[in-house]
């Protein structure tokens, strides 16, 4: 992976000054919001301890505001703080959320699923060129060699329907769509080959459930897969249960997933989970012309129907 990376282009996709400007804009918006009492807390990013890393940050007073940054290391999907991680911000009052395109898609999905009200959150949209991939050399800027795979085919660089927007992106270089290429490669395989491919991955799964933990849509209070009466999905990390877990998860995310690929990033065993999600998104788009998360929609593709939906597969 690293060897390959060195062959790739290391020209920065955007200038470093861009991040300084965005950071400054976030801070000034945060100062305004906190100062005017519009929000009780701003959820954003702060610098991590290691070189060029970042962590989620919850800022509740103006004197903390200069913690806030934005850089290609700001990988986390902060929409998580609106659902599952909500306990950390609970009771604080109205939130402002620093949100990249994929985070915003998650927010739109959550709005459609009644998990929050638009008025309860102030969205600071970030025009985002992309973030670091999991194994990126953090010494390098954001470039073809370091950009995350999902960002190569991102369609939401520019934020939509936010309360504030920071940053104006230059025209971004078109990069090869590695994930789509991989998807096409898999689709061209025989069923048996695909089975072996996925089993090789699923067999490694240790059921740490990091994928579930980082997913903004896995907000169920009790996951179906933790239920034991009946036990639909085996909970120990055996291949059978692992396969079932990942299949059920992909099905539950179909038509909802915002393609933030946090599951894949969070996976300690490097299972290419976003491929499953991307595949379902692609099929639903082809079948029902539906794309998740572009704007809040009342009904998803699997909670609605048309009388003339395709039924060529039904005899």
């Amino acid at each position: 992976m690293n060897n390959k990376a060195q062959q790739l282009d290391v020209t920065p996709l955007v200038e470093a000054t861009y991040y300084q400007a965005v950071t400054a804009a976030i801070r000034s918006e945060a100062i305004r919001l906190l100062g005017e009492g519009k929000v009780a807390a701003v959820v954003g990013y702060r610098a991590g301890r290691r070189n060029n890393s970042a962590l989620p940050a919850i800022v509740t007073s103006i004197d903390q505001v200069d913690q806030l940054i934005f850089s290609p290391a700001c990988v986390n999907n902060l929409a998580l703080y609106l659902t599952k991680a909500k306990n950390e911000v609970k009771g604080k009052g109205k939130l402002a959320l620093v949100a990249k395109g994929c985070d915003l898609r998650a927010v739109a999905g959550l709005l459609g699923e009644n998990q929050l009200k638009r008025d309860d959150v102030h969205l600071i949209g970030i025009a985002c060129a992309g973030v670091y991939g999991a194994e990126a050399d953090r010494g390098l800027p954001l470039c073809e060699a370091t950009i995350a795979r999902k960002c190569r085919e991102c369609t939401v660089h520019e934020p939509q329907r936010t309360d504030a927007v920071t940053g104006i992106l230059p025209k971004l270089k078109e990069l090869p769509h590695l994930e789509s290429e991989e998807l096409a490669r898999l689709e061209a395989m025989t069923p048996k080959e695909r089975w072996d491919y996925w089993q090789a991955h699923f067999a490694r799964c240790i059921r740490c459930l990091a994928c579930r933990q980082v997913c903004p849509f896995c907000y169920c209070e009790q996951c179906l897969c933790d239920k034991n009466r009946p036990q639909a999905v085996e909970s120990s990390p055996r291949p059978a249960g692992n396969s079932a877990w990942h299949i059920v998860r992909a099905m539950h995310l179909a038509g909802r997933c915002s393609a933030c690929a946090e599951c894949e990033r969070g996976c300690p065993m490097d299972i290419p989970l976003n491929l499953l999600n991307r595949k379902m998104a692609k099929e639903l788009k082809e079948l029902y012309a539906y794309e998740a998360g572009l704007e809040p929609q009342e009904k998803g593709p699997l909670t609605s129907y048309k009388e003339d939906d395709d039924q060529s597969f039904i005899k």
Partner: protein
């Protein structure tokens, strides 16, 4: 649950011929949790049922599997028997080893193995069954009837006569519907108005009937026994309490040239009007689109001449909420128009008949108004273009109907009879005239109907020509009818003075949006669907909603009236009890796990899912969860399959029950 009884039926030889029932019973007896297993020749017979009841007592059984025929056949029988022995009926399962096994397989060993498997699956299911109690729902004994045509009037009167309150909602300013427009009715030729108006008056005077005319259904909430209906009473601009119906306002209104819709635009009416003299209520309404006051702010004549001061230009639409327990839908039909349709419309017009642009080509309802003594010509048959009496009149049947290329495939049912009637009415009024009818088939089933048609042909000398018309065109002051007589095999050309088209009966425009409000289903033509075409013809699949008249499909007056009375009887059956009991196969939400994503609400075909707020003791909102109203839930289980966390469960078909069967495979 560990004390299960398994009863394997021979069904005479129907099962035992191919399934070794003893072996099946033996194998069942060895299953864990089975306390008793036996086989018997006829389980459904009295001795068979007694055997079951005795076994329950002897073995203290808690669950029962009857391996016999399809549950569709005898599930009820055995559930009842078990209930009388003290076992909850929902702890009884049928293992279908007849229709699904002995009857469809020949090899005895294979069939026996399969039967054992089926029994095993059901035994596992029974272990997960829960005792369920029937659901009771209170009933509001007040009915809503939508539509004040003959069907709605009949249903309303029947229910009201039974002593229940009825709310009758009519869109037009007067009740009466299409029947009030007709001249005379088949097959007896009695005057429509003469038999209709007394019924209208009965409605107006009935102490149990609340009448809302010039009103529409705005919103429907609730469910069987407990609907809440929001009715929009449109602004009439006349105070119904003050108006005496003297009619001075209409006489003095300077705006008199508005085409009279009731007379199919043959005559005119003023801007303040009642649709026809016998209207109920006899209170005028201002047609605001055509009223000078509303258009320019000048005039005000009606207000000035009104003695009781009933005219009120400031009146606004009013929303009224009516609680009711049952709904009768009787919204009727409208006639197909041959006019050019917008591009892309599934229903096509008739360019070959001039797209409705030839003045002397009219439809059947227009002819009714021409023939009606209270019509614009006082009952004289005069053609619209020049008022001449037509000496050659041509009737064309099946215009729109039975023409799938025009977008309608069904038979409109009433046209054969009313066309025969028209030829007679014509002959009675124009003695020296000749009527011709182009037709394909004369469809006259019904009491006295065929005789009526034959009378038109044999005594009134209408010339019936079997064959359709290709084209109509104007030639000087005649309409040339290009037809053919397929019996003879030649083309027929008639230069007619007037052509009457028997246009198709269609659902009312807007029928679909009303259906969506009511949550009832409708077919591709927007006619409302009954729950079962033969056995539940007046009920909708949605409980508590009933159908009457032509909103369900083309119907004549006798059929509409019969169905209206049938719908009324259904309503009265419902109202006969204070509470309503239904099968407890309904979904339930587990509040603890529900996160309120409301996917269940999105997919529920019944609109049974509501939002429920969960608050702590201090009243702080903890979360919003889904709540399934058991009165409304139909029990399909789509919610459960959709719920990611399975926080909603369908009683009788829980995940546990199903998984137990899958595990037993």
């Amino acid at each position: 649950m560990s004390r299960i009884g398994v009863f394997v039926c021979h069904c005479g030889e129907n099962i035992s011929r191919t399934v070794d029932v003893e072996q099946v019973a033996q194998a069942a007896g060895a299953l864990s949790g089975v306390a008793h297993a036996c086989d018997y020749k006829y389980m459904c017979s009295d001795p068979g049922q007694n055997l079951l009841k005795k076994a329950v007592a002897d073995h203290n059984l808690e669950g029962i599997v009857v391996a016999a025929c399809s549950p569709r056949m005898h599930e009820k029988t055995f559930r009842k028997a078990a209930a009388s022995a003290g076992v909850n009926p929902f702890l009884v399962e049928m293992a279908n080893i007849r229709e699904h096994c002995s009857w469809v397989h020949e090899d005895k060993a294979e069939a026996t193995a399969k039967a054992s498997d089926i029994v095993t699956m059901l035994v596992e299911r029974v272990k997960k069954d829960k005792a369920l109690a029937p659901i009771t729902v209170p009933v509001t004994k007040r009915a809503l009837v939508i539509g004040g045509g003959i069907a709605g009037i009949q249903a309303a009167l029947d229910i009201a006569d039974c002593g229940h309150q009825v709310v009758l909602v009519e869109r037009e300013p007067s009740i009466g519907g299409h029947m009030a427009q007709l001249s005379e009715t088949f097959p007896t030729l009695d005057c429509s108005q003469c038999i209709m108006t007394p019924k209208m008056v009965d409605v107006a005077n009935h102490p149990n009937i609340t009448l809302h005319t010039y009103s529409e259904i705005e919103q429907v909430d609730g469910y069987i026994g407990n609907f809440r209906i929001t009715v929009r009473k449109k602004a009439r601009s006349v105070d119904m309490g003050k108006c005496t119906g003297c009619g001075v306002c209409m006489a003095k209104c300077p705006q008199k040239k508005i085409p009279n819709n009731f007379d199919r635009n043959l005559g005119t009416r003023p801007a303040i009007y009642v649709p026809f003299p016998q209207a109920v209520p006899n209170t005028p309404v201002i047609d605001r689109e055509n009223c000078t006051w509303f258009k320019t702010g000048k005039c005000g004549v009606c207000q000035k001449v009104c003695g009781p001061g009933a005219v009120d230009y400031t009146q606004e639409d009013e929303l009224i909420v009516e609680p009711v327990g049952a709904i009768v839908v009787a919204t009727g039909f409208e006639l197909y128009s041959i006019a050019e349709k917008p591009k892309g419309s599934p229903i096509k017009g008739y360019g070959e008949f001039g797209h409705g642009n030839l003045p002397d080509v009219i439809d059947g309802m227009t002819f009714e108004r021409l023939a009606s003594a209270s019509g614009p010509t006082g009952g004289k048959i005069q053609r619209p273009s020049d008022g001449k009496e037509p000496k050659q009149i041509v009737f064309v049947q099946c215009v729109g109907s039975r023409a799938r290329e025009k977008g309608i495939s069904y038979c409109s049912k009433i046209c054969c009879m009313y066309t025969a009637k028209h030829t007679m009415l014509y002959k009675h009024k124009v003695h020296d005239g000749q009527a011709y009818v182009f037709f394909m088939d004369a469809r006259t089933p019904g009491k006295g109907y065929d005789e009526f048609w034959r009378r038109a042909v044999e005594e009134e000398e209408a010339v019936y020509i079997r064959g359709m018309v290709s084209r109509l065109y104007q030639k000087n002051d005649k309409i040339v009818v290009m037809g053919s007589d397929i019996s003879v095999g030649v083309q027929v050309e008639i230069e007619a003075d007037l052509v009457v088209l028997a246009t198709a009966v269609q659902a009312r425009s807007g029928a679909d949006s009303l259906a969506q409000k009511l949550g009832i289903s409708y077919d591709g033509y927007n006619f409302y669907s009954e729950a079962h075409a033969k056995l539940r013809p007046v009920e909708c699949a949605t409980a508590g909603v009933y159908l009457a008249g032509a909103c369900q499909g083309p119907k004549d007056i006798p059929d509409s009236v019969s169905q209206a009375s049938a719908a009324a009887a259904k309503v009265m059956t419902l109202f006969a009890r204070d509470e309503l009991e239904r099968e407890p196969i309904v979904a339930k939400v587990v509040d603890r796990y529900c996160v309120g994503c409301l996917a269940c609400k999105k997919v529920c075909p019944y609109g049974a899912v509501e939002e429920k707020e969960i608050r702590d003791r201090q009243g702080t909102l903890l979360k919003v969860v889904a709540f399934v109203n058991p009165g409304v839930c139909g029990g399909c289980g789509t919610c459960q399959a959709t719920c990611p966390s399975k926080s909603v469960e369908l009683d009788g078909y829980t995940d546990e029950q199903i998984m137990a069967m899958i595990e037993a495979l």
